[in-house]
Amino acid sequence: MPDPVLVLKATAAAAGVAAVVMMLSAFLFRKGHGGLATLAEVLAVGSGIGLGCWWLGFPPKVPPIEDRDRLLLVLLPAVGIVEIIAASLKHKWVGRVLRVLLALPIPFLLLFGSGWLPAAWTPGGDPSAPSTWTQGEAVEILSGLGVLLAVVWSLSIWTAQRPGGYVVPTALGLVTAAAGVSVMLSGSASGGLIGLPFAGVAAGTLLVCLLVARTHPMTGVVGIGSVFLFGLLMGGRFFGELTNTNFALLIAAPLVCCAVLALPPMQKTNVPLRFVVALVACLLPAGAATCLAYRSFAAATDESSAYGSSGESDAPAFSEAPSSKAPASLAPEPGSPARATASSSPRDPGADEPSPPGDSGIKRPPAPVDPGEDLKK
């Protein structure tokens, strides 16, 4: 697992740079132009996530061949542009349509080129290669996921624009952190790790928004956060071992937040109480998912080994201790010619490391590469 101190530093750095960029862009808020304010948010979120990923040692790679790279380099910038356009236009329906139009193909773009999709869907792919889904299944599943993202994204934006809506970016930051930890515990440390800087970004931007703009809906942060959470969960579910239950709990968490805020009794309460109730309500499914992921992780791991005891091995258990003397045919022969090539591996694994623990002093000739040489003897 990654170093917790490093993760905390990266999250703090992401929060700091996002807050600084927001502060530097503060003059844009005063002009009251929604598009410019959203632009400032998008720049703050982008710089925060970028710095956090770099700090963690996972900057996105070019070309973007993995889902994580496509999410960071292609999809999130596209979401940012959509939110800037939506905030700039007087007609709100344009923004709603753009969100749906972008949300629908995002699941396909995240799974592009993977073994889930029919190979015929990948340019240059082998049409005869086996895939997990048939074309019909792929269309159904990707459509369903696209609609799910459109609902989460649209509802989050709608709720964020209502009074007390700043609970939405707060909830998205915390749920994304929970999703990151859950994905890390589900066999994809590198996939989940990038979720944590967004928690810092959400905190940094929210702080500046509350101090400087006070009533700003933060649609830039909410839009990017919704898609970021979805992308993180898609990576964990389809490339890691995140369970369907945990996927559902984590993607439902921001919807719970929106639903609680929309309840009629909540409209009569004051804003701080609404904030607390909505936040607690959304953290319940997110916390449950993290606990379930941790239980599965802990059950598969023991204290002495990162991968469980030898009892979980595929190998049959030995009924008796194997002989320490290797069969003559397998033992390295002192007289066999050593084929010294640059590719032959060192016998001491420490010799492969930057700081070797020391030469064992035992020198034995490697086995011949060509089995024909062994036959001649």
């Binding site: 032959s344 694994p349 490391e353």
Partner: protein, 192 residues
């Protein structure tokens, strides 16, 4: 009638000549999975070697003794078949932290140039792993032929070489692993 007989004799002689001449022509082989293996080892914290293998692979190669530049090798490996004798570790190796087998369901090698050397070939080709294609060069030793079972011509090659995992973006999250993957490839092919 005698004309037909002469024609048959002539055709038989031509066929025999072609059969005699065939070793000088390109010979196509399919990798015999029962007599082949792809194994590897990587240092763990500088303390021990973690060893593993890929259980599922296929390949074809063409040997042209007369025109060595027409000799070629092609190998397809299923990265999901990785086996290090520990189920949990294998699952982790299949995950996005290492091979990301659901995103990159194929590992491939295809030769681009083959040069004869003493005892085999020096092979250069494109190796694709984890979605990254890099040129690699290694010595492929062997090439003797045997007939087993009767009527089935086979030949075999072996090689050991090292790859830097960082070149292919594998295992960025685990610095305790060695920088190099030491691979051993040995295979027999049966003539098509």
């Amino acid at each position: 009638m005698s004309h037909h007989l002469c024609l048959k004799i002539a055709l038989a002689a031509l066929a025999a000549l072609m059969g005699t001449a065939s070793p000088a022509m390109a010979q196509d082989y399919a990798v015999d999975g029962a007599h082949a293996g792809i194994s590897f080892k990587i240092a763990h914290m500088g303390l021990s070697w973690i060893q593993g293998r890929f259980d599922e692979f296929s390949g074809q190669f063409t040997i042209d003794a007369a025109n060595p530049e027409k000799t070629s090798f092609k190998l397809d490996i299923n990265p999901a078949s990785i086996d290090t004798n520990n189920q949990k570790r294998d699952e982790h190796l299949r995950s996005p932290d290492f091979l990301n087998v659901r995103q990159f369901p194929a590992m491939k090698f295809k030769s681009t140039s083959v040069r004869p050397i003493n005892g085999g070939y020096s092979v250069t080709g494109d190796f694709t792993m984890h979605g990254v294609t890099k040129p690699v060069t290694f010595e492929l030793l062997g090439g003797r032929t045997q007939e087993m079972p009767k009527g089935v011509q086979r030949t075999g090659f072996s090689s050991e070489f090292a790859l830097k995992r960082a070149d292919f973006g594998v295992g960025q999250v685990t610095p305790m692993l060695g920088e190099k993957i030491y691979a051993t490839v040995s295979f027999e092919g049966t003539r098509k």
